[in-house]
Amino acid sequence: MTTSTVTTNANTRSRSLADSLKVGLGQLVVSSDPTDVLVAVGLGSCIGLVMADTSRKVAGMVHVMLPDSALHTSGQMLHGKYADTAIPALLDAVLRLGADRNRLVIKMAGGSQMFSSGSGAGVLNIGTRNAVAVRESLSKAGLKLQAAQTGGSVGRTLDVTVGTGVVTVRAVGGAAQPL
């Protein structure tokens, strides 16, 4: 798999806002610049998943929208969009930047049910199924999840500081908490 959506140091600068790199829906971003902060803003049913190796100062994040790529029809695919493809793609991308597979810290947040009734029923399934699919995909790759904050009915913002590997998550009305 190619890593065309991977943001490398060369082009992170132009897109960065105070060293904060946004990981949009379906995107995959990796960095080896210690000052970079990767952030997924407003995760609802989506999952933000971080892989970080603090000793090598490499971190990456995917913003997973859906559990399964089987329904994908159009030619191009966002690498972070589906749980089954996002995990191998992110692993590949952080390893390419020099991360050590055995030192990876892996954390995730999201998978909420944002709408509680009626029309929200379909959305509920996606959030829950995303969390399940990400876990499956991790175990298929032989990777272990260290921490997770998923489910419930709140939106969350997840970030990781590349240099320290510190991951924080925050919900509406709350402060950022280390995950």
């Binding site: 949009g24 989506c46 859906l66 029809t73 996606i126």
Partner: protein
């Protein structure tokens, strides 16, 4: 690659977003105009105040850009989401800025004490009022859409969410993004004398429903 969609393809070949003609885009814009116009009239009746509408627009947006396009981010909004089923499945979202939503509640409840506020800054009473407003607004939009296209469209009961805009919007976008990486959005802003953007309406048809909608409008045979 395409065998998963053979069934849909048999009834109507999926229409590509970039194939849309200027005439078809105009017609879809008119859908937004009439749908949101009807909803704005309902809102105006409820509040006794005039509600104006911006010019509707039709956009084809890569899914990763939808939350930003809609004004996502972490700002707290009230969103009412209605799933549309029937001939042309799709999604209707009505979004109000938190401040606007509070003012609307005050207007409707005649300055009554709203009671204890929850974590997102709204009380139970305000939430039921907003749910009711959302039901009426999305219902008006859907009826206008069905009348205009002469299609059989039904609502799933609208659901309310109060949270970060991006979290609410992306959860709806995930529904349309199952098979494609682009979303067609028919959107309309609401405005009043002070504020150019007090609310937002969007209809996002499922990709396979686009052809049906255009056929309903008489623009493809």
């Amino acid at each position: 690659m395409s065998q998963a969609h053979d069934e849909a393809a048999a009834t109507s070949a999926p229409l590509k977003f970039d194939d849309l003609s200027a005439l078809q885009l105009d017609a879809l814009r008119e859908v937004g105009n009439i749908g949101a116009g009807t909803a704005a009239a309902s809102l105006s009746t409820m509040t006794g105040q005039p509600v104006a509408m911006g010019v509707p627009s039709v956009k084809v947006v890569p899914i990763e850009e939808v939350p930003d396009d809609v004004g996502g981010g972490e700002s707290i909004v009230v969103a009412v989401y209605m799933q549309v089923i029937g001939d042309a499945p799709g999604h209707i979202i009505f979004i109000l800025e938190a401040d606007t939503a509070r003012e609307l509640c005050d207007t409707l409840m005649g300055g009554m004490d709203p009671g204890e506020l929850g974590p997102a800054g709204f009380s139970e009473m305000q939430i039921s009022a907003l749910q009711e407003i959302g039901n009426i607004m999305t219902g008006s939009y859907l009826r206008a859409l069905a009348d205009l296209t002469r299609l059989h469209l039904e609502p799933n009961p609208p659901a309310l969410g109060i949270d970060m805009a991006a979290a609410l919007i992306s959860s709806v976008v995930a529904e349309v993004a199952r098979t494609v990486d682009l979303a067609l959005i028919i959107e309309t802003q609401f405005e009043d004398e002070q504020n150019p953007s007090i609310g937002y309406f969007a209809f996002i048809p499922e990709p396979e429903a686009l052809g049906t909608v255009l056929r309903g409008l008489g623009l493809i045979s």
